[in-house]
């Protein structure tokens, strides 16, 4: 069951991703990306990462992508935006490079993976406590410092966004 689900969702993900990079209209592009993200959220659930899946939809697909859409509309961008192409000759090499990169990655991940120490968080264990609770625990214990620093990051981003985008200071 989950196998079919995986393949379907994966297909959707890839398709929307490919649509994203070939779509002329940025609004549609954003929508495709949202779709990709939502599909990924499904995969996260398949991987038993419910909290991440939720955040993916709420924060990523919801907040961030809406911000994108918001800006696209604010700037009133249309299809003509990409009229000028200074590097037409880069297209084919770029795609070839992408394929090459993909090939290399595939060759690499064919080899032995997951050689590392298996951790204690087996499915059963996680379910016994709850995914979200575990993550919360870890965030306020082991990863407290990065977590706090993230606040600075967000603060910086807020200041920056205001600084750069505010019409009048």
């Amino acid at each position: 069951m989950s196998e079919y689900l995986f393949y379907i969702v994966a297909a959707i993900t890839v398709t929307t991703a490919v649509y994203l990079i070939f779509e002329k209209n940025p609004v549609f592009g954003a929508l495709y990306l949202i779709q990709t993200m939502v599909s990924l959220a499904v995969l996260y659930i398949l991987l038993e990462a419910q909290f991440v899946a939720a955040v993916q939809i709420i924060v990523y697909a919801g907040a961030i992508m809406v911000l994108f859409l918001f800006v696209i509309m604010l700037l009133n961008l249309d299809i003509k935006e990409e009229a000028r192409n200074a590097l037409p000759f880069q297209r084919i090499p770029a795609i070839l490079m992408g394929i090459a990169l993909f090939t290399v990655i595939c060759i690499v991940i064919r080899s032995k993976l997951l050689q590392g120490k298996q951790d204690q968080y087996t499915t059963a264990y996680v379910q016994s406590i709850g995914n979200t609770k575990l993550i919360g625990n870890l965030l306020f214990t082991d990863y407290l410092l990065p977590f706090e620093i993230t606040s600075i990051l967000l603060f910086v981003a807020a200041i920056g966004a205001i600084m750069l985008a505010k019409r009048k200071l």
């Binding site: 880069q90 090499p93 770029a94 490079m97 690499v108």
Partner: protein, 645 residues
Amino acid sequence: MLDLVALILLFPLIGTAVNGLAGKRMRKETVGYIACGAIGLSFLVSILVFCGLLLLPPEGRLFEKHLFVWIESGSFRSLAALQVDPLSTVMILTVSGVGFLIHVYSIGYMHHDKGYHRYFCYLNLFTFSMLLLVLSNNFLLMFIGWEAVGLCSYLLIGFWFEKKSASNAAKKAFVVNRVGDFGFALGVMLIFLIFHSIDFTEVFSAASHGNFETGNFAITMITLLLFMGATGKSAQIPLYTWLPDAMEGPTPVSALIHAATMVTAGVYMIARCNVLYMLSPFTMTVVASIGAATALFAASIGLVQNDIKRVLAYSTISQLGYMFLACGVGAFTAGVFHLMTHAFFKALLFLGAGSVIHALSGEQDIRKMGALKSHIPTTYKTFLVGTIAIAGIPPFAGFFSKDEILLEAFVRGNFIYWSIGAIAALFTAFYMFRLLFMTFYGESRVDHHTMEHLHESPGNMTLPLIALAGLSFVGGFLGIPGASAINHFLSPVFGGHTHAEIAGTELAGHSGHHGAWLPYLMMVVSTAIAIAGIFLAYQMYIKKPDLPKKLTDRFRFIHKLLLNKYYVDEIYDALFVNPTKKISVKILWKGVDVRIIDGSVNGIARLVGGLSNVLRLLQTGYIRNYAFYIVVGCIFIVVLAVFGK
């Protein structure tokens, strides 16, 4: 008395210093007195030293005076030390004596010159250098004198530096001498390498004690190299070309340096090294051959020259050739003897020529002279003495010395040497009398303007002439066959090789198959040759004045060849001077240096600069482009990381 030897050097040096530093602010007379006084004192000391030497037993006539250690490096050691022995005594007497006379003469001759004090400064310096050359006790110190006389020669030839020809001649003299010095320097080094010393005494005693067999290669090389130096200094083939040009200097300079003393340095040096030379028959042959060839060659050029000083210059070269011929056949005493008599009469001739030139306000072309006999009688008379002396008419000095050389050439050498010498002697007599006749006899070809100023030279010029004439007359008796004083005196230097054994009475015994009559026959023959030359000149220039022109027309080619000195200067220019200049400019400087070396240095710089301008184009300013580089770099790195074993 011998201890005074350093004073011989000191006086001229003081003269140089005083005249050089303060001469400009002194009266001309003072300058002259200081200069002459310095040399005069030097001469007096030389006589004292000579007497001192005479007091010693003949075998012990060697005195060395150490002054200080000059250069010492490792086993190499060159002292500043003086050596007095018969040979150097002969030399110092000649140099300071003749030098003194010429100094006196110069007072009058140079009286009107602006560089008066400079002149005497140089002249004194020259005398010092020459005395140093002959007094030094090792090769390197000798080399100092050797080069220093070259320097003085340079300075004095170029004395009238405003004349381009003079400065050119000066430079030529120095450079050609340097070519010779090249050989000399190498010779000295080779001596050090072979003998581990450069002291005369040590080298010669090592050489004469049978450590080296005759014909030893190293010794041959040493002697050849030293002889190379001698050819430069003494103007032998192939390095003689500077001497005729050197006549650009003031005439007394020509007399002193380019006739009487400096040019004989080569002869002196070979005589000094006779021990070495005797060990190398090959070198001796070379020396004799070159000497003979030069004697003939220069004499032949002298036949047709029209410049009074040039004739004398070629004559000098020719006479030097004789001396080398003498040395080359092993007759060192004969060489030195001729050196001395030659100093007397050639100085006399030059000074006489100077007097003529002085009288004619600078005219040197004998075609514009003539009939001066009555106008400048003293000059004429003394000049006549000198001419006879060089021509080899007994009993004048030249006769004895030249005759002895010819005899030696015949006895020790071979018939060819003798015949060349004889022909050269014929030439000598001819051109000298040609000179005499054209200058003092016949019709006057002097232009009016010059004629008005025609006058006999002042006393301080004529007195040296008379003195030298006297010496030219009596000088020969020092080496009169059979009772040769100079042979006796020099024999300690030339040891077993002296010609005392064969000269004079002992001759018969030594070279038995020729018989005792040989010397006398030789005398007769050479006198006959001289007279033949004189007769020929008389015929051509007094009796039939139009004969020379006919002959010239008849043998146009030979005449032109002789007149242009066999084009040797031109050949040298074409062979050495011009190609060197051309190669230096075109290939080395503009080609190798600018184009290749500098070009490649700047080329690398330009290459990097060009590369910079190409590579910067990668920086297109397009973000996508930059991202592309990142991806390329990524693939490269990943491939290198994963597969790059």
